[in-house]
Amino acid sequence: MKNRLEELRKARGIRQEELAAALEVSRQTIGSLENGRNNPSILLAFKIARYFGLTIEDIFIYEEEQT
């Protein structure tokens, strides 16, 4: 699943550490979400969406796998 987390964070001039502190997660979690190595839980996805004042769909892009 792709996401716009890095783009949104940089657009607001926030450091990974600051975002991590606001969301009460580790900085490494933010890094791994931005790199797409890890997908957030639905709770964290809601927290992120609320933090940026957007919907989950605005941040996370779900693409169905082509068979």
């Binding site: 009460e24 997660v25 580790s26 490494q28 979690t29 791994s32 890890n38 957030p40 839980s41």
Partner: protein, 138 residues
């Protein structure tokens, strides 16, 4: 948090007391009882001392305490920890089975083979039990 620190301190002291009792009464009480006292005492002593020290450090630095709590509950860290525990458990289970086979080949006493096989079966049963329990919960 302070209450927890006091509990760890009390258990640490209890561990030391149990260990001392085991040493003082060595030879006067049965060997299994002495061994049990020493085992429980040293386990309590080591575990609760480290926990007490950790809590004390956290109390002195609340910011570090908050960060430690975040790190412990962080969903990525939790997932990593659970995955590592699951994989290490699986590896250990098959390693124990290998020990059982080797013990047969090396002509080890029967209890070694039975113990290894027993641990393998117990782990499998526990795994199945937990799977059924979690299926009901989730």
């Amino acid at each position: 948090m302070r209450k927890q620190t006091k509990i760890y301190l009390a258990l640490w002291i209890l561990g030391a007391v149990l260990g001392c009792i085991a040493m003082v009464l060595d030879g006067k009480i049965s060997e299994p009882l002495g061994g049990m006292l020493m085992g429980i005492g040293t386990a309590l002593f080591a575990f609760d001392f480290s926990m007490w020290r950790m809590r004390r450090r956290e109390e002195k630095d609340p910011q570090q305490m908050k960060q430690a709590k975040i790190e412990a509950n962080d969903e990525r860290n939790v997932a990593i920890r659970r995955r590592a525990q699951a994989v290490s458990g699986e590896v250990l289970q098959w390693a124990i089975m290998a020990v059982a086979w080797f013990s047969i080949g090396l002509g080890a006493p029967l209890w070694v083979t039975l113990a290894a096989a027993g641990i393998f079966v117990a782990k499998s049963v526990l795994e199945l039990f937990l799977m059924l329990r979690y299926q009901k919960e989730m």
